[in-house]
Subunit: 216 residues, 2 copies
Amino acid sequence: MTSPTPPNSWSGAATPLPQPAAAPARNPAAARPRDSAATRQALVDAGRTLFATVGYDATTVRAIADRAGVNQALLFRYFGNKEGLFAEAVLGEALELLADAPRHDLLERTLAAVLDDEQGHAAEILMAVLRAAGSSQVGEAVRIRLGEAYSAAFASLVDTDDPADAAVRADLLLAWLLGIALNRSVLRAGPLHDPQVITAHVLRVATALLGPRRPS
Amino acid sequence: MTSPTPPNSWSGAATPLPQPAAAPARNPAAARPRDSAATRQALVDAGRTLFATVGYDATTVRAIADRAGVNQALLFRYFGNKEGLFAEAVLGEALELLADAPRHDLLERTLAAVLDDEQGHAAEILMAVLRAAGSSQVGEAVRIRLGEAYSAAFASLVDTDDPADAAVRADLLLAWLLGIALNRSVLRAGPLHDPQVITAHVLRVATALLGPRRPS
DNA sequence: GTTCGAAGTAAGCGGACGCTTACTTTTGGG
DNA sequence: CCCAAAAGTAAGCGTCCGCTTACTTCGAAC
């Protein structure tokens, strides 16, 4: 990659661009041979991490299989195709995660996932969906189902009688969290602000968005 | 494409997925032959539209050349490579657009571009950057420069003495607009709410975000 | 110990992609 | 009129990608 491309001066000092933090390498001690369940899980884990860090298009099935320490043909045996793995790696756990969350701290928890720079489990799923958005029509159904689930959950936080109004405000709050996540972990433009400061601002302003309109 | 893939039941009724609205076909009357400037411009326009509607990765140089009614080798003669065209199609005009905008209605104007479903010029540029975000490291510098410009512009709207605080709040507002754009034009999850209702909510709440903290 | 299906493997097919090359056609200045 | 440079073209090179196929190896039931 000492590429012969013309000297794009504007590419300047290349940012080291996010790399997926060397595979955990599938503990060879605990890894029993010929364990299809473990193989499936290894593929799901590797896939989710790669989708989250470099995006759907840039993630190749060869890379997933390598990271999982598995032959790539097994990916197709177990998941049909690349999109099948994406759906399983992202949708299933995301919905569980959301269903298990109590409503009263939903906003704080989601915000925490969005601001988690260590890339926890929840944050990875979120990023995977986000990064796949730029790609073709991949994961359309995954995005829609997830969007609906989050939208409904946030709508229950809005203090209003009008369901349509609740939907608008819930989607606006959801959009805010998406934007924060996008700006922080994908665009990576500008400095990374202190999560605590961000949280304080968002929680304060969210009150104005969710609460009843002032009778003014 | 009557594909032999396993019956992914969840792919259901395929959404017609955004298509770039048939090329304007380069008025053959006004199109003087052998006009390199016109050819360049045709490539830039075609590229911007395609990048905005289907994303960077999904846009092929062949598609750009076809839509521009131009031989694809010319794309490489004039712009070096695909990324060169992207930079020229997106960065230049975006910065002009921002520089020309008066500060007092910056938020409203940006919001209008974000909510413009007809895909005007400004909206196209914004979408192009957004959709490229999910892709590899393409347009990294483009994104960063554009982000900095917008961030600085919004920071001037914040009512505070602390420059760091202004930066945080400006970036949060910017993130909100990004999220709204993302949710509306890229994710396309959930219903499209009325732009006027959205604008009203955003302007109202933005006051709480930008204004001085209450002395409480 | 034999057998049979499941788990795992090596190799490669067909196609799309970004980009290049070798060529032809037109234009405009002397 | 001439001819070099610019504009435009046709074809294809090398590479990577998603996915398939034909095969080998293992493990457990009988």
